[in-house]
Structures are given as structure tokens and as C-alpha cells.
């Protein structure tokens, strides 16, 4: 397996070695070693939960830098729809896009239309699909990676349609190159992202050989400058058209809101996603056609890299969608012909990312599992995480895999110091 960089980095200067991130991590990918949070490549799904959990601002997203813009002859900002929701309903998305251009991008490209087209394409796909049911949306990249690591059986359930952000970048890059006589590689396309997961999907895409985007800036990092730019710009009398239906994709429930197929559900937040995926894997939910699932509780508006938070953002999106006129510019025939041209297709296979089992050999694996169960008996089950692992079970797992020692547990050490009776034999690990 190749070394995969993360969407998040820990700052050794700020990390105090508390265990907040380790305990919050849904895939138990973080261990605290020598007062520093260390992330396991194999297990991280780049969901960004650790960023929210850290009280010391020690976990930062790895974003593009302004210097990256200078590598290209022509730059395009492709904002997440969530960006439009950060300002209030008196700021039309058109003003946000103008503001972005003032920050130094040569062009901005709105993806609300592409969202509407992808919703249409997804409906067409669903109407022609066969088993397995239900189909699962691939919009949230953290959900996609959770499936690859923890639910490989659900890979055949994934809708094989690329995301609006990638398709928008693909389309615009192609047209721009033709319009301006540029080589596609001379165009820099940057996503303005609400979350770390999308950032990682640009770095290490699934379903594509390479991303059509060149990098990403966090909404919260551009926000201050953008507010100033918008304030000082009264804006023109007319604005470019935004799709109100597409706009709803920023919120959980948005994908299905523009579908005619009502046999769908929206799953919000990591715990619920895990709950539902466990059941789909066991064969439940087969009566549903489509599931849209988001790691962030409110959908993209709840991303860690946003500013106003999901409640205000949801309200703003609803208001904006109400004010915008639905021009019905996305024609069904157009989507059909693009489907026939395979415009929406994934370009690479989405594969399982197998996490190593205790051992390859069944008898050996059982022996290690028994050892692990016995270790768990010796551990206090307080899940205090003082050892650096998020809970006692994970410490036991680390020990049998040779990555930790029983004496990492402060309670075990205390027992030994007090000369307490050793409950089991065979503790030669000191």
C-alpha cells in the first residue's frame, strides 16, 4: 500500500498530548505517543472529527497555499455551495462569487447546476438499476472511505456517478482550455471546501485516476477577506443564475429533495451512518432505493471548516433557495445524452481498503483473539485513554499486534507498584 498523506496534520508545538481526538476518532485511528497525537494511515478516513474535538487548535487541515495559485496561468475558484450559506440571505451567491474573484482568482465557477444534473443522472441510474439495494450516494468522501475500510461489502451499493464538484471542474477545464487556447494543465482549479474529507478526495481521489481539481482552500481561511471584499462591492444589477434545486445539496436531504423517487432516506452524522451501514450489511433496508449519507450531522453545511455553523447555514440556504427563481435550465434530454456519453461515470474502480486482521492463519488469529480477551480482563475497562489508545479494547488490540505494552496502562502499573496480587500469570511484559 502506498503512503497516503492525510487531510489533517498535528502541530507538535500545540498538541499537549490530551486524548480528546483519540477518543473522538470514529475509526480509532489516533494514538497519543510521547504527548503527541499520531494518526494511523491505514485507518484514517479524513472525516475531520479530530479537528472539532481538539481544544488546542493542534490539528489543522492541510490546505492549498496562495503560492499554489502562482503555479498556474489561469485560476478558477470552485466554491462548495456551503460557502453561499455563510453570509445571510441579503448576500446573493453572485456577490460571493464576485468577492472571490477580487481575492485573486481569475474566474469562479458555480456548481449548483451540476448538482441538479447529477441528481437527474442519479434518478435515471436508479430507474434502470438492479440489485443490490439500496444504492448509496458517493457525495461525502468520508462516507466513501468509511465504506472502503469498514464496509467493503457495500461497495456494490455505491452509485457509480462522479460528484458534482469533480464533474464541474472537468467540464469547465475542458471548455476553458478550448476557449482560451490553454493547455489543461495550465489551468488551476481550486475547491473552496467546508471539510477535510473533500480536501483529501482531491489529493487521493476514489473513482478517478486523478482529481480534476488542483487543490482546496478552507472556507474559514478565506472568510475574513471575503467578507471585506463583499462589503466594499455593491455588485452589479444582475447576477449569474444559481440553481435553487442544486443549492439544497449543501444540506443533508438536498440530494433527494430534487428527486421524484421518494423511496429514499437521508442519514446524518457518523453514529447514524454506522448504525445504518451495519444494518444494510446484514441485509436490512433492501426495500429502499437510495440512501444519501453524510458524516457531518447537517450535511456539508456542518463541515469543520465553515464559519457560521450548520443551523444558521441551513436557514440561509433555505432562504436563498426561496428567493432564487427556478429557471429549469437543466433539460432532461441533455442529461440523458450526457449519460450516454458516459460523462458522469467513474473513471476508476472503487476498491476495498482492507485493514489487516489479527493474523492470516485462522488458528493463530483465534489464539491472538483469546490473548486479547484475556488482556481485556486485566485492564480496568475505564476507557480513560491515559495509555494513548482511545479505550481498553483498542489497547488490548495494540498489545497483541505488538504496538503497545500492558504496562502502558496506568492502572496496571499502579497495581504492580502497590505490590497487589497479580490476577493472572504470564505477565512478563515489564
Amino acid at each position: 500500500m502506498t503512503e497516503r498523506p492525510h487531510a489533517v496534520v498535528t502541530d507538535p508545538g500545540k498538541c499537549v498530548g490530551c486524548v480528546a481526538c483519540s477518543k473522538a476518532c470514529p475509526t480509532r485511528a489516533i494514538r497519543v505517543r510521547d504527548d503527541l497525537a499520531v494518526i494511523d494511515d491505514e485507518l484514517c478516513i479524513d472525516c475531520g472529527t479530530c479537528i472539532d474535538a481538539c481544544g488546542y487548535d493542534a490539528i489543522r487541515p492541510r490546505t492549498s497555499s496562495p503560492a499554489d495559485l502562482r503555479k498556474f496561468k489561469y485560476t478558477v475558484a470552485v466554491p462548495s455551495l456551503t460557502l453561499y450559506a455563510q453570509f445571510g440571505d441579503d448576500v446573493h451567491p453572485g456577490r460571493v462569487l464576485r468577492g472571490l474573484r477580487q481575492l485573486g482568482f481569475d474566474e469562479t465557477y458555480d456548481i449548483s447546476w451540476m448538482c441538479e444534473m447529477v441528481a437527474s443522472a442519479t434518478e435515471a441510474f436508479l430507474s434502470e438499476s438492479t440489485e443490490p439495494w439500496p444504492k448509496i450516494s458517493v457525495t461525502c468522501p468520508a462516507v466513501l472511505r468509511l465504506i472502503q475500510i469498514s464496509y467493503p461489502d457495500l461497495i456494490p451499493h455505491l452509485v457509480p456517478i462522479e460528484t458534482p464538484r469533480e464533474l464541474a471542474a472537468k467540464l469547465r477545464r475542458r471548455r476553458l482550455a478550448a476557449e482560451r487556447g490553454l493547455d489543461p494543465s495550465e489551468i488551476g482549479m481550486f475547491f473552496i471546501t467546508p471539510c477535510t474529507a473533500i480536501m483529501e478526495s482531491i489529493e487521493a481521489p476514489e473513482g478517478l485516476e486523478a482529481s480534476y481539481l488542483d487543490g482546496a482552500f478552507a472556507i474559514k481561511d478565506l472568510y475574513g477577506q471575503l467578507v471585506k471584499a463583499i462589503k466594499h462591492d455593491p455588485g452589479p444589477d444582475t447576477f449569474e443564475a444559481i440553481s435553487p434545486r442544486g443549492l439544497r445539496w449543501a444540506m443533508a436531504g438536498g440530494e433527494i429533495s430534487s428527486m421524484r423517487n421518494a423511496n429514499t432516506i437521508t442519514v446524518r452524522g457518523l453514529r447514524d451512518v454506522i448504525y445504518v451501514f451495519d444494518r444494510i450489511e446484514s441485509g436490512a433496508f433492501q426495500g429502499l432505493d437510495f440512501i444519501e449519507a453524510y458524516i457531518c450531522p447537517g450535511g456539508c453545511v456542518g463541515g469543520q471548516l465553515t464559519v457560521v455553523g450548520r443551523y444558521l447555514a441551513q436557514r440561509n440556504i433555505r432562504q436563498l433557495a426561496r428567493h432564487l427563481v427556478d429557471q429549469g435550465a437543466v433539460k432532461e434530454e441533455k442529461v440523458r445524452s450526457m449519460l450516454e456519453d458516459h460523462f458522469f461515470d467513474h473513471e476508476a474502480e472503487i476498491r476495498a481498503r482492507r485493514v489487516r486482521p489479527l493474523a492470516r492463519d485462522l488458528r493463530q488469529a483465534i489464539a491472538l483473539k483469546r490473548e486479547k480477551d484475556a488482556l481485556l480482563e486485566r485492564l480496568p475497562r475505564k476507557d480513560c485513554a491515559a495509555c494513548g489508545a482511545p479505550d481498553c479494547l483498542t489497547l488490548a488490540d495494540d498489545i497483541v499486534r505488538g504496538k503497545a505494552k500492558l504496562s502502558d496502562c496506568v492502572f496496571v502499573r499502579l497495581d504492580e507498584l502497590e505490590g497487589g496480587e497479580k490476577p493472572h500469570q504470564g505477565d512478563e511484559d515489564a
Binding site: 446484514s282 441485509g283 436490512a284 426495500g287 489479527l358 485462522l362 488469529a365 483465534i366 483473539k369 483469546r370
Partner: protein
């Protein structure tokens, strides 16, 4: 009251040869009737164990479907049950022994589509009548014994490298 046709015993597991039937690992779980709140947890726990033991994914998938159906059957119809996982050298055997009303007519219950689920159960997404046939379809050996008013015992085996269910 239920129809009074006699219960049938059928399909005792045949594979009792030494070696292949050696139980390498055994663990049991208790399930309580009507405990919808924890429905599916035993199936999930068994899945987690088998994943750790590097059991093949496809076999785990089939077994999990069978376990989930069996567990929900207990929750919907029985008073309580013990579900026992036994890992064999090249297969997994699960025994679900419940105490409860039993199945008066197994032949009827084994037919696709037949169900006694109440509207409440159907509202929860169960009772499509596929429970028992679904367990049989997703296992390589299947047997059922039931006595009306006493309980039902299911035994099913999923092989590590078996044919894929049709």
C-alpha cells in the same frame, strides 16, 4: 390460536466427521424477545469477531444476513434465545435455540412470502416473509426443529469458501 398441524424435524446436519468439525472457537450471546432496541447487536458482534479472524468477506456477508434474520425472528416471536457461534476449521456454525411459542407449521413458514408479522412489525421493515428461507439461502447447511409452545432451534453452517448463494 395457531393452526395445529404437527411440527417437522428435518435436515439434521450431516457433516460430523472428525477434524473438519473441530470447534476452534465458541461464543454465545443472549437475545431477549421484544428487545427491538438491541436488535441486530448479536449479529454485529459475531461479524466483528469473524472480521478479526480474517474469515472471508463473502462468507461473513452471508452469515451476517442469516444471523440478523434469526435474531430478529427471536425478538419478534420468542421469549428468549441463546445464539452460539462456533468457528470450525473451514466453516462457521451458528445455533439459535429459543424458548417460545415455536413454529406449528415449519413447511409453511419456510415458504417464501409467508409471514405472521403484525402491522407494527411490518412498519419496522420486517415481516416480508423472507426470514427462514433467507437464512437457508444464505447458508450451506440448514436445519430447524420446533415444538409448539416450547421453542425453535435453528442450526446453520456457512463455509469459508463455499459457492455463492443463487
Amino acid at each position: 390460536m395457531h393452526d395445529e398441524r404437527p411440527a417437522l424435524n428435518r435436515d439434521e446436519p450431516t457433516d460430523r466427521r472428525a477434524g473438519r468439525d473441530e470447534v476452534l472457537y465458541r461464543e454465545s450471546f443472549r437475545i431477549k424477545g421484544n428487545d427491538f432496541e438491541h436488535g441486530g447487536e448479536s449479529a454485529a458482534a459475531i461479524k466483528a469477531i469473524l472480521k478479526q479472524l480474517s474469515f472471508p468477506t463473502e462468507a461473513i456477508r452471508r452469515l451476517s444476513i442469516a444471523n440478523f434474520e434469526a435474531e430478529m425472528n427471536v425478538i419478534m416471536y420468542a421469549d428468549e434465545a441463546e445464539i452460539t457461534l462456533e468457528v470450525l476449521p473451514d466453516a462457521v456454525r451458528v445455533t439459535v435455540a429459543d424458548r417460545g411459542q415455536g413454529i406449528p407449521d415449519i413447511e409453511w413458514a419456510m415458504q417464501e412470502g409467508n409471514s405472521t408479522a403484525t402491522p407494527e412489525m411490518r412498519a419496522r421493515g420486517f415481516g416480508a416473509g423472507l426470514g427462514l428461507p433467507n437464512i437457508r439461502r444464505n447458508s450451506d447447511e440448514f436445519s430447524i426443529r420446533s415444538a409448539a409452545g416450547v421453542g425453535t432451534t435453528l442450526v446453520y453452517v456457512v463455509r469459508a469458501n463455499a459457492r455463492v448463494a443463487p
